[in-house]
Symmetry: C6
Subunit: 82 residues, 6 copies
């Protein structure tokens, strides 16, 4: 872990959309846990943002994180859907 910032105080979010945003954040924090140099990460980011294989792989990670978050929030069932 690169810092002591608590980036995950809870898995509970108000809305499904916030759950998606949390999923993206968790995926990014995992990468930061391995590549701890923020400057290097910024350079690497250009690489995967332009490589479709890596974009798809990133989307897979987000989907996996979202499974956990959605379950934690009981799929936001008590909200009114659109």
């Amino acid at each position: 872990m690169e810092s002591t910032e608590n980036y995950l105080p809870s898995l509970i979010t108000k809305t499904p959309l916030e759950g998606r945003e949390l999923a993206v954040k968790l995926a990014r924090k995992s990468i930061a846990a391995i590549q701890t140099d923020g400057e290097i990460r910024k350079k690497l980011r250009d690489q995967y943002a332009n490589d479709t294989s890596q974009l798809i792989a990133s989307a897979h990670v987000i989907a996996t994180e979202f499974q956990t978050i959605a379950k934690a929030n009981d799929y936001w069932k008590t909200m009114k859907g659109s």
Copy 2:
């Protein structure tokens, strides 16, 4: 997140087919969260739509998103099957 549009007001869909469409949408929104330039995404799209490895990887992401959506909808069990 590239915009404040709420693309996911709810995980609940009327039918399994709409659940599939939502799964495809979520996968696309994940990619848009990383590659925020819509013009670049359009160009990249031609690449993965013609590369079988990437098509299969995309199908895997959709399958993962659909697991979450199907669970949220209790597998649409209260609907009449065909």
Copy 3:
């Protein structure tokens, strides 16, 4: 989505084997959702049917779809096993 055909009226199938067939179908429909040109898909199909990496990746997608379908059918537990 390339057409309005309802390829998924329900996740419920009579037998586990039909569940497998539905899993294969869902995987194919995901690919069709991205590569909407049927002629191109037919050509691409020859590629992945002869590439073991891609066959294995396809099997992974089918396994993931089947998890959802099997759960929806409560694992067909009320059927008599062989």
Copy 4:
């Protein structure tokens, strides 16, 4: 599907080990559903059996199939463990 043989009459197995064997079988049947020519599959088999990346990917598919089978059998909890 290459034949009408019912290779999956049930997800229920007597033992965890038989569950593993069924997981391997399901993975193979998925590949056969895509590459329907048995002769070609036999040739392809030599390829992936000697390529560690593909062996690991195959093991991942088996692990995914086994998750479903183990759940269907309630993890064989009513059996006596060793």
Copy 5:
């Protein structure tokens, strides 16, 4: 299956750590189910133990197997944590 040895009499383990060890074992047995020649496996092992992509892929398989084992053991909740 290369032998009739029952390598999986049960999914139940005494501790989480033994659960991890079982996950590693299951991943290895899957590979052995496909590449049945032990001599070839030994040679292949040197390859993936020095290739980070394959090490990460192996870790993914172990994580997937562990999900099943942890669930089977109800996450060892009745044990006292450290």
Copy 6:
């Protein structure tokens, strides 16, 4: 297993953040179970920390491990969220 150290006395953690840290640890221990030479692992680490594909793949493993840990902790629902 390279040592008899008990790196996983329990899946229970006090907070979601500690759950993330445990997920990272489990992923690392899986790699150590296969590549048992710590010196080699240190060299390999430089490789994957600078390769975006491998960083994303590592994030996927962490996400998978976290699913198990989050479930074991009932998603830390009894904690107060932020």
